[in-house]
Symmetry: C2
Subunit: 338 residues, 2 copies
């Protein structure tokens, strides 16, 4: 039973790396909050000059910047720090692709609190924070709408281009519109389309502002209130459900899809944008790991596989469901046909 290579000795290294992984989260948040990346982009490249620009202690900045160098957000050459390419694009406040705002939502006090109670969430099989994030007029969704808009731009455009291949849209419903980017992208791809955006009243103000800024304000209409309770109207040829179903359990999603189907005209489609893991539920990593974000934040939401989404849609009366091969950043697009 001789083997060509001896089995690798197990080491506790990964245990330590993961136990300390939260240090990385804190370091990135601190660096964004203190504008360290922006300071370096502006030409402050030593601990002393960065500290002055960021109003922090040189010793603290040196330790933070060394840590960010270890984790490859910065480079270090002698005493000079520089920005790694992705830090320059996404973490400099003056970059058009700046993502620092997304941190406000992803590391909100509530979201962090939810994760510190993971043990209780696993025991219960759902959030330890009670009602969860789906209560009416929750101001967190305004934060979400503002913070996540830059991130949604690209996948929303990709979705709109994919959907356009299936025909022109005329009357479009965007459910839980948030920042509005999905509906706005469809409006831009379909110059004759009227878009109806459904979300809480406070959130729709953000979407309306974005629609106006992007030149489609006159074709943009608001349906404020709970998506489960408001009257959507009817005769839509396209309904968008971007990153909404994952907050709810299968029966709730199925009932909701029935309501959506009733609002579609014959030949209409519903576009479901979601984190969709493979059937093994452990790949691809970002989509599969999203299940845990739902576990800690919602009573019974999940990242659904395509088979599960297909089953919900068929039980809601849709004739067929397709998974679009192209990925939309971390999301996938499933299209259900009446």
């Amino acid at each position: 039973m001789a083997t060509a290579t001896p089995p690798q000795q197990p080491t506790p290294e990964r245990f330590f790396n993961v136990m300390n992984a939260h240090h990385q989260t804190e370091a990135l948040k601190t660096a964004v909050d203190l504008e360290v990346f922006t300071a370096i982009a502006e030409g402050n490249t030593t601990a002393a000059t960065i500290a002055k620009r960021c109003r922090a202690a040189e010793r603290g900045v040196r330790t933070l910047c060394d840590f960010l160098t270890i984790h490859e957000f910065l480079t270090k050459d002698g005493m000079q720090y520089g920005l790694a390419p992705d830090a320059a694009v996404f973490l400099n406040r003056n970059s058009p692709a700046y993502l620092g705002g997304a941190m406000e939502f992803m590391l909100s006090p509530r979201s962090r609190e939810a994760f510190t109670q993971l043990t209780e969430a696993v025991r219960r099989g759902g959030t330890a924070l009670g009602e969860g994030s789906v209560v009416a007029e929750n101001p967190e969704w305004v934060t979400f709408a503002r913070a996540m808009m830059p991130l949604a731009r690209m996948p929303a455009q990709m979705m709109a281009a994919e959907l356009r291949k299936g025909g022109e849209a005329h009357k479009v419903l965007d459910i839980a519109a948030g920042h509005g980017m999905y509906g706005i992208s469809v409006a831009k791809e379909n110059p004759g389309a009227q878009v109806y955006a459904a979300d809480w009243k406070n959130v729709l103000e953000v979407a309306k502002g974005n629609a106006q800024a992007m030149g489609i304000g006159e074709r943009y209409h608001l349906i404020p209130g709970s998506a489960f309770e408001t009257d959507f109207g009817s005769e839509y040829d396209l309904v968008l459900i971007p990153n909404f179903l994952h907050h709810f359990d299968v029966p709730t999603c199925t009932t909701f899809l029935k309501k959506v189907r009733a609002a579609l005209k014959l030949g209409g489609r519903v576009a479901i944008v979601e984190f969709i893991p493979n059937d093994d539920r452990v790949s691809p990593p970002a989509a599969a790991a999203f299940s845990m974000i739902m576990l800690v934040n919602t009573p019974s939401g999940d990242a659904y596989t395509f088979a599960e989404l297909e089953s919900m849609a068929k039980n809601a009366g849709f004739a067929r469901v397709e998974l679009v091969p192209r990925e939309l950043a971390f999301n996938r697009l499933a299209v259900a046909y009446v």
Copy 2:
């Protein structure tokens, strides 16, 4: 200016991975707390049977185990979970190399609180938690002594073997002995040595128990109190300072080393076990990253380079200082000669 390969497009992927890195820490802690790894080692391999053994919800366990599979602590084959090799060795409570206890210290409420205040620590250049971890009789050091003992065993033995090459030790002082493993290992390597352990009284009870269990109790003596204030005695031929200097600033370390030198006899040595980063302060990763753990936890501690330690020791009157080439797990060993 044609290039053979196009430059890689920056992606926000690492930004998201690091922003979500704390999820990994929480998942590992929850899995250890609920004994998920132990449950699987005992033969419970489906979400349903693990949930029953761990008294948790099947849905919560399934999501947690999928997440642990994504991060390679578990394997998944169909519906069956298994332990990755290092999880089997280090995370099963019934394994002799179980490290779950180390989590109690590394993820103690105080340590976590310290990291959530990293921004303030960077502003100040030191811990935002006031006095820090170096107050008298802090019960956290008892937790430390109990929790970190299994981890110290191997580096302590390696240190003792290295030091034995330099000659037999007869009278040994172990400063901030903690679990006592460093002094105990020297006692075992030097059968005639008497070991004097200095630490807080409550911590020395742990060290004394370990010394007795390891058969050197009769050669083990206690010096309770502050290392800065108690009388160490004199005529030591070896003084151990394992993972102690990093809590203090350079002047404090220098003054302390003077006190240590005064306790050594002619020809004596001091063995400094530390996280010692290279002069660039960003490598090797574990030693370099330790600087941030000191930033958040202490008023002015640090991970010192060998050049800094050498300078402290020489300013304290030591004749020469050597860095032992062999690594002691994440630590290095510097030896200063009178």
